[in-house]
C-alpha cells in the first residue's frame, strides 16, 4: 500500500515525511529527516539511546511508529541547545567528563532534561532510577549522575 504522509513538529519546526507502517519514529528521524543524533542501540526499548520527547513525554523512538506521530510534537537531542548556547546539562556533561565514547550521551541528555522538568531537586536515588532505561557501558554512571545533580542544583540557583 502507499506510504503514510505525516505532518508533525520536530524541534519546533514543521516536518513532513512519508513512511511505511513498520518504520519506527527512530527510522524516520535518522533515515528520512537526517536527525542522526538519536542512536539505535537495541531497537527493543532496552538501552534508551533513541530517547526523544513526544508531546512532552519521554519515550524510546524505537518503540513508536512513524505513522503514529501525525500532528504531534517531537523533541530530539538536536533541539536541546537553544541558538548559540548549550543547555546547562550539555555544558555540565562536558565540564564533568560525563561522557566517554558518547554514543549514549544524546539519550541521557534528553532523559535528564525530562527529569529536571518534572523534578528540580532529584535525589541520587531518583536520578539513578529515572535513568535506569539509559545504558552506558563506559562511565559506570558516576559522572553522569553527578553531572545531572550538579546541573539541577545550578538551575535551582538560577
Amino acid at each position: 500500500m502507499a506510504k503514510h504522509h505525516i505532518e508533525a513538529t520536530v524541534n519546533g519546526d514543521p516536518a513532513e515525511f512519508l513512511c511505511e507502517t513498520e518504520d519506527t519514529l527512530l527510522d524516520v528521524l535518522r533515515d528520512t529527516l537526517d536527525l542522526t543524533g538519536s542512536k539505535e542501540g537495541c531497537s527493543s526499548g532496552d538501552c534508551g539511546a533513541c530517547s526523544v520527547m513526544l508531546d512532552g513525554r519521554l519515550v524510546c523512538s524505537c518503540l513508536v511508529l512513524g505513522c503514529e506521530v501525525g500532528g504531534r510534537k517531537i523533541e530530539t537531542i538536536e533541539g536541546l541547545a537553544k541558538g548559540e548556547s548549550l543547555h546547562p546539562l550539555q555544558r555540565r556533561f562536558l565540564e564533568a567528563a560525563a561522557l566517554q565514547c558518547g554514543i549514549c550521551t544524546p539519550g541521557f541528555l534528553v532523559a535528564s532534561k525530562a527529569l529536571l522538568e518534572k523534578n528540580a531537586n532529584p535525589s541520587e536515588h531518583e536520578v539513578r532510577f529515572w535513568l535506569a532505561g539509559n545504558l552506558c557501558r563506559c562511565t559506570g554512571y558516576d559522572k553522569i549522575v553527578t553531572a545531572v545533580m550538579d546541573t539541577a542544583a545550578a538551575m535551582r540557583k538560577g
Partner: protein, 286 residues
C-alpha cells in the same frame, strides 16, 4: 502492512473483525514493535486504539475507578487520587520497563501481550479488576484472571478488544501492593510477581483479601488458598507461614533463563509475604 487509527470503538471492532490476515491492536506498542522487529509477528493490519476516548481516560465510576486500556503507566502515576486508592496497581504499572517505556506502556497492552510475567496483571487480579471488552457481539465484562488462558493465549474472540478496566470501590482500611523479583533493580522481566489486596476491620483483622502470583505458571494465578490463609488474621507469624505455604503449593513454574523452578517457588513465598505486609501497613494507614 496497514495502519488504522479509528476514533470509535465500533470502527476499531469492525476493522479487526474484517481483517483478512493477522491483525494486531496497537496501544503502547512496547511489546508489539519489538516482536515486529524480531520477525516474531508480521501483521497485515495494525489498529491503533489510542484515538478512542474511552481507552485513554481515567474516571471515577460507582465509587470505583475505570481506567482506559490505553492509559500509560506514567499517566496513572500522575493521578493522585487513583494512586491513593490503588497504590499497588499504579506501582505495578510503573514497574513495566524504563521511564521511557512507562511513557508508552499500557494496562491493556500488558494484559493482551499474554505474558505470565506481566507486572500489572497480578496487581489487577488482586484488585478484583474487571476487563471491559467490546466486540462484534457488543460489550461484555470479564474478570482479569479469566482474560489470559496461557502464554500468548487470550479469551478474546476475533474482533474483540479490551477497552477499559473497572476497579471496585474501596472500603475503609483497604489497600493493595505489588512486588516483583528481578536480578537487577530495573529493566528486567519479573522472575516472580506478587499482588495482594486486602481490607481490615476496625480491630485490624483481615476481612477480605486477594492474592495473585505472576511468572510462576503458564498464566497469572489468582491464589484463593493464599487469601484464605490470611483472612481472619492480623497477619501474625502463623498467618504469614500459612500464606507462604499456600503460595508455594500454587506455583507451577518452569526452569528458564530467568530462574529455576526451585528459585521461583521460594521467592514466590517470600514475595507474597512481603507484599501482604506492605498492603497491611497501607490499609492500617487508611
Amino acid at each position: 502492512m496497514r495502519y488504522e487509527a479509528p476514533e470509535s470503538l465500533e470502527g476499531a471492532v469492525a476493522l479487526l473483525a474484517g481483517a483478512k490476515g493477522e491483525a494486531r491492536v496497537l496501544a503502547g506498542g512496547t511489546d508489539l514493535l519489538v516482536q515486529m522487529r524480531a520477525d516474531v509477528v508480521d501483521p497485515e493490519l495494525i489498529v491503533d486504539i489510542k484515538k478512542i476516548p474511552e481507552t485513554r481516560t481515567v474516571t471515577e465510576e460507582k465509587g470505583g475507578w475505570r481506567i482506559g486500556a490505553a492509559v500509560t503507566g506514567a499517566e496513572l502515576k500522575e493521578h493522585t487520587r487513583l494512586k491513593q486508592a490503588w497504590p499497588g496497581v499504579v506501582e505495578a504499572a510503573n514497574l513495566i520497563g524504563s521511564t521511557q517505556v512507562q511513557g508508552r506502556a499500557t494496562l491493556g497492552g500488558n494484559l493482551c501481550n499474554g505474558s505470565p510475567a506481566a507486572d500489572s496483571v497480578p496487581a489487577l487480579i488482586a484488585a478484583g479488576a474487571l476487563a471491559s471488552l467490546a466486540g462484534p457481539k457488543g460489550r461484555r465484562d470479564l474478570p482479569v484472571e479469566d482474560v489470559m488462558l496461557g502464554p500468548r493465549k487470550l479469551a478474546l474472540t476475533k474482533g474483540e478488544i479490551v477497552v477499559s478496566f473497572l476497579l471496585p470501590p474501596r472500603p475503609a482500611r483497604s489497600s493493595d501492593a505489588y512486588l516483583r523479583f528481578i536480578p537487577r533493580t530495573e529493566m528486567d522481566i519479573a522472575v516472580v510477581g506478587a499482588g495482594v489486596s486486602l481490607s481490615l476491620d476496625a480491630g485490624g483483622t483481615i476481612t477480605a483479601a486477594r492474592v495473585s502470583l505472576g511468572a510462576v505458571a503458564a498464566r497469572v494465578l489468582l491464589v484463593s488458598e493464599a487469601a484464605q490463609a490470611i483472612i481472619g488474621s492480623r497477619l501474625d507469624k502463623a498467618a504469614q507461614d500459612r500464606l507462604e505455604a499456600a503460595a508455594r503449593t500454587a506455583c507451577r513454574p518452569i526452569d528458564d533463563k530467568r530462574g529455576t523452578i526451585e528459585f521461583r517457588t521460594d521467592v514466590a513465598a517470600v514475595l507474597s509475604r512481603r507484599t501482604a505486609l506492605i498492603a497491611l501497613d497501607r490499609a492500617r494507614a487508611n
